[in-house]
Amino acid sequence: MTEVGPAAEMPADGAEIHVVDLKKYFDLRRGFLKSFRGEPVRVRAVDGISFDIRQGEILSLVGESGCGKTTTGRLLTRLEEPTGGHIMFGGVDIASLEGHALFEFRRNVQMIFQDPYESLNPRYTVFRAVSEPLIIHRIATSLEERTEVVIRALEDAGLRPAQDMLDRFPHELSGGQRQRVAIARAIVLNPKVIVADEPVSMLDVSIRAGVMNLMLDLREKYRIPYVFITHDIAVARYMADRIAVMYLGRIVETGPMDEVIAHATHPYTRALLASVPVPDPEHTYAQVPIFGELPSPINVPSGCRFRTRCVYAQEICTTTVPPNIEVKPGHFAECHFAVDIFEGRMAPREAVSEAALESMSAGPPSVEP
């Protein structure tokens, strides 16, 4: 990928993490004989993305399953080694970190996982789960100090009275409480960045709003930037200041949240927004402007990877990789016609007719990683 948006070339002021042309390919295992000939089959989960995470902001990575958003989160926390590109944190590429520096990095970047039923050890009490990071990092060495720090973290996470929580096991907690414990464990080390991978998608509706509000309040209090990974654009809108929409391993559109919602430019973002159900029975829905199904990430289309489903696609989209165009300060879209679409001068290639949809859906099924 040669096209790198201006945002990636110059680290913006106060960028906490600066990602440049990040790539992660997974080799697929094939048959014994096949493995001797030809290229290995690769899934290009993340294929050259660049973005910044700025101080105190919440950046949301949004996309459908298989678009590479979780892989991006795992790369940011160095749970995966990148195939290419750089993740700059505090002026160094995190891929080069070793020994004590890596240890420090792990303290500074914390992750909250999707499923609080699996991310907490069932045999650890709440106190042990939250105090373990402190022991590992030799913070608050006496038991009294540790208890105090843990209680503060639990109270920050909305678990009050925290004293009563300390000796409980995960099975004694509800889903929402477990996720709050996971949040407490993430904030107890005062990290510089938190990566949250679908932190609310396993929670019940009535609980979910509370956990989202908690994360927003913590951001207000400690100015910790979050990377908020979600498939739900409505949740992303509620949480984030900026959004990055991912499609098949690329960030196709990025910008301030309200701007992107109001003036979605990339055809994929537009389709995504049109398909979100709205909690209002009076809302009128437009036809979702998209064809077919997600192509396999093994055989990514040439040129623009969205072209097979795009209602605006033309000749050039098959041959040339689209540039990342800044349609408004800070609002980028990776599309040849970004400006035309942004200014409303572009008509869809053809009406999204049922016949067209049917002929397109004959393509290969998507592969779920």
Binding site: E64, S206, V288, A362, S366
Partner: protein
């Protein structure tokens, strides 16, 4: 007149710790061609209600009361309410007596002899409050006998050439059907202990042919070792006497209807994408042109774009084929998009039900308000979401009286002591709360 009437249904699960009251006195009516959305959080009993209707309950489920009347012929319907009222009026004194006795036994000091009597009385009160079809029949015995006699006489007359008695005969037959609670699925398959039989020829005539279901999680609902086409063909041939060729032609038609290319019939489930599996499940549900389809979280596991397309497809087919549809979802916005009416479930009960627009514009139950206030949206202002304090209750020991009172911001003393009444402030819009009228007069609770 409703196609499906669920009346006072009680489905409990036997577990080691006691009874899980998953569905506890649910009423629901559904007309032909209508779409109703059933919303609620996980564990509120939505799926149990669906499985009770289709009678696909696990073996530890017991139906303790109520009826599920699926009107196959439709003739008995107009006479049903009259017989229900008649039976309930007759049962009222017995109920009162049983209740009074229960109270005296309860307040008396505990003795060994009193315990079984107490149990018996409790069961009696319960049976009278949530009558099964057999309870109705005991109170309607004289009418049933008389109607049977009339039908017999009229049949004889008709057969001996009196063509004029035809109309009277048809009416008498319909009255008899209504009085004997004909069409109650629970009545057909219920065993004495409350469990439901897995198979009954009468039930088989209804299941899948008249009522079908799109299961939650299509990825797990298809058998991985058979091709998808074979599974749908098997469904068709189990219920209808058609040859393999004809069944295959039907599958091709169904595939066209749900938007899968016909050359994918002989693929295995793993060769389908998630969306295609869901479409195949819908095709299977439609295979026998049922009059009622229950879709249990049909799009929950799918990506938004696929989900919205499939939901549109379901609605289009539903309109074309004029089916009744129950959409079950935890997502208020999905239900708001598709349903004519919405029923909100909480802890085994329907707490509010009404036309979709009314549920939003004039919310009369605090739980509905909480649910609506907790949902983010991509349109409109970005407002602060409000979560409902606390957690959904365990259905093993739900809170006394109103089940929502521990989490309710409007709760007063009465809410923890007296069962909330079902109030209908406007036609077709009901709420299960002591303060429905007050909330309605205020113009509804939810301010979106």
């Amino acid at each position: 007149m409703p196609l499906l009437a669920v009346r006072n249904l009680k489905t409990y699960f036997r577990v080691r710790a006691g009874w899980v009251k998953a569905v506890d006195g649910v009423n629901l009516n559904l007309d032909e061609g209508e779409t109703i959305g059933l919303v609620g959080e996980s564990g509120c009993g939505k799926t149990t209600l669906a499985y009770s209707i289709t009678q696909l309950l696990p073996s530890n489920a017991h139906v303790f009361g109520g009826q599920i009347i699926f009107d196959m012929e439709g003739h008995a319907t107009p006479y049903r309410p009259a017989y229900w009222n008649m039976a309930e009026a007759r049962a009222a004194p017995d109920l009162q007596k049983a209740k009074a006795e229960l109270e005296t036994v309860q307040s008396a000091p505990e003795t060994k002899e009193a315990t079984p009597r107490l149990e018996e009385l409790r069961r009696k009160v319960d049976a009278l409050e949530n009558p099964l079809s057999e309870t109705y029949r005991t109170y309607l015995a004289p009418e049933i006998q008389a109607l049977e006699r009339t039908v017999r006489d009229l049949t004889m007359k008709f057969e001996t050439g009196d063509k004029a008695s035809r109309r009277a005969l048809a009416e008498a037959k319909n009255r008899l059907a209504a009085a004997t609670q004909n069409g109650d699925l629970v009545d057909i398959t219920r065993r004495p202990d409350g469990r439901l039989r897995e198979y009954h020829p009468k039930l088989n005539a209804v299941r899948w042919k008249q009522i079908s279901i799109v299961f939650q999680g299509a990825m797990n609902a298809l058998n991985p070792v058979y091709t998808v086409g074979r599974q749908i063909i098997e469904t068709i041939r189990t219920h209808e006497d058609v040859g393999p060729e004809a069944a295959r032609t039907r599958v091709e038609e169904l595939y066209r209807l749900v938007g899968i290319p016909a050359d994918r019939i002989d693929n295995f489930p793993h060769e389908y994408s998630g969306g295609m599996k869901q479409r195949a499940m819908i095709a299977m549900a439609l295979a026998l042109s049922p009059r009622l389809v229950i879709a249990d979280e049909p799009t929950t596991a799918l990506d938004v774009i696929t989900a919205s397309k499939i939901m549109d497809e379901i609605l289009r087919i539903q309109k074309d084929l004029h089916m009744a549809l129950i959409i079950i979802s935890h997502d208020v916005s999905v239900v708001a998009k598709v349903a004519d009416r919405i029923a909100v479930m909480y802890a085994g009960k329907i707490v509010e039900e009404g036309p979709s627009a009314k549920i939003f514009s004039r919310t009369i139950h605090p739980y509905t308000e909480g649910l609506l206030s907790a949902f983010p949206s991509v349109v409109g202002e970005r407002r602060r979401l409000v979560s409902i304090p606390g957690n959904p209750p365990s259905l093993l020991s739900p809170p006394n009286a109103c089940r929502f009172h521990p989490r309710c911001q409007y709760a007063k003393d009465i809410c923890s002591t007296v069962d909330p009444p079902e109030v209908t402030p406007e036609p077709g819009h009901r709420g299960l709360c002591h303060f429905v009228d007050e909330f309605y007069a205020r113009g509804g609770l939810f301010r979106g």
